[in-house]
Symmetry: C2
Subunit: 196 residues, 2 copies
């Protein structure tokens, strides 16, 4: 059950994104932000392309961080990382005690996901993780013509939407995710590109 909680403008958010698919091990980057403005720390780790180790790796990365006690929300860029490595947001929330918000630029095409997953091992487990991520809600940020979509765990939709809006200071997606994306692509490709 998610509880309503006080949202400060300077709320600490950890945004996590992955890099381009250039090998078997995929770099993931955590950008630890104060509000939508200040980058206060960078975390990194590696997950297996199309593997099943994403959830465990992110949990370990978060719990090992010196910023762990301060992180009030974890933001994910979709629930698949490094190809089709699925992140179990209920397990991530349960293991860390931190609310999780999943952000998507488009309404996810579950049929297409189900089709792609049939070619991979652990098909049922992957689909269960997708289904457990729960309902999807539209959120309007600075650009009303480009809404984003969220799923969440450990926080209600209304609070989650407020946090997404208040941290989208530079574009229509939250700054911690925008910056995690710039870092991950900049390190792996030599120069950042594209959108989170």
């Amino acid at each position: 059950v998610s509880r309503r909680f006080h949202i400060k403008d300077e709320i600490r958010i950890l945004g996590i994104d992955d890099s381009a698919l250039t090998g078997e091990k995929i770099l993931i980057v955590g950008a630890f932000f104060r509000g939508g403005i200040w980058l206060d720390g960078v975390l990194s780790s590696y997950i297996t392309r199309d593997g099943m180790d994403g959830t465990g790796t992110i949990i370990s990365m978060v719990k090992a961080s010196k910023h762990y006690p301060q992180v009030r929300v974890i933001m994910l860029d979709g629930i698949t990382y490094g190809g089709f490595n699925p992140i179990d947001i209920r397990l991530l929330h349960g293991s860390t005690g931190i609310p999780v918000i999943v952000l998507m630029r488009k309404y996810p095409d579950l049929e297409m996901i189900a089709k792609a997953v049939t070619n991979l091992p652990h098909e049922k487990e992957r689909m269960d993780i997708f289904k457990r991520a729960g309902d999807i809600m539209e959120v309007c940020t600075a650009d009303p013509l480009n809404p984003v979509y969220i799923q969440c765990c450990g926080i209600n939709f209304r609070d989650a939407a407020r946090i997404v809006r208040s941290s989208s200071t530079r574009s229509n997606i939250p700054e911690p995710l925008r910056v995690a994306h710039l870092i991950a692509t900049g390190i792996i490709l030599g120069e950042s590109r594209g959108k989170a």
Copy 2:
């Protein structure tokens, strides 16, 4: 001869830092900033520990970037990267056409540097690069008890000091260098630490 130029609050600055010495090849990271606030791009490359390839690598990285035409100032964190790999700021300025500001937290101990360099090949060339970096000036930013020191090329001290001050929005060092440091250490060590 440096010319005086108009300094906008949103001046584009590329701050470059290196990572911890963990191997033969050292990651360097460029953080492309708009003013002292927004990270708009990330560059990365590798230089040789204690090598002589730092200047050439940084020149190539800058000139290959899509942000190259926009960069108004390059900021370096000292003039040795990856151990004692010296950056020739006159060559960097001459090859890119971009003014260079070198920032140091402490007044450099040239005697100690000269001593360290005697154990390395290219001793005379390294010392020449240090000497060519020119005069050192103290600059006070937000914290008057912790001044920083700068050298510059292609820009006069007064303009350089203004840019250093206006971009030091979060601490006593410019944001592009603070963030480049967080990224470089976060990627190589798994979590960012220390100060740029």
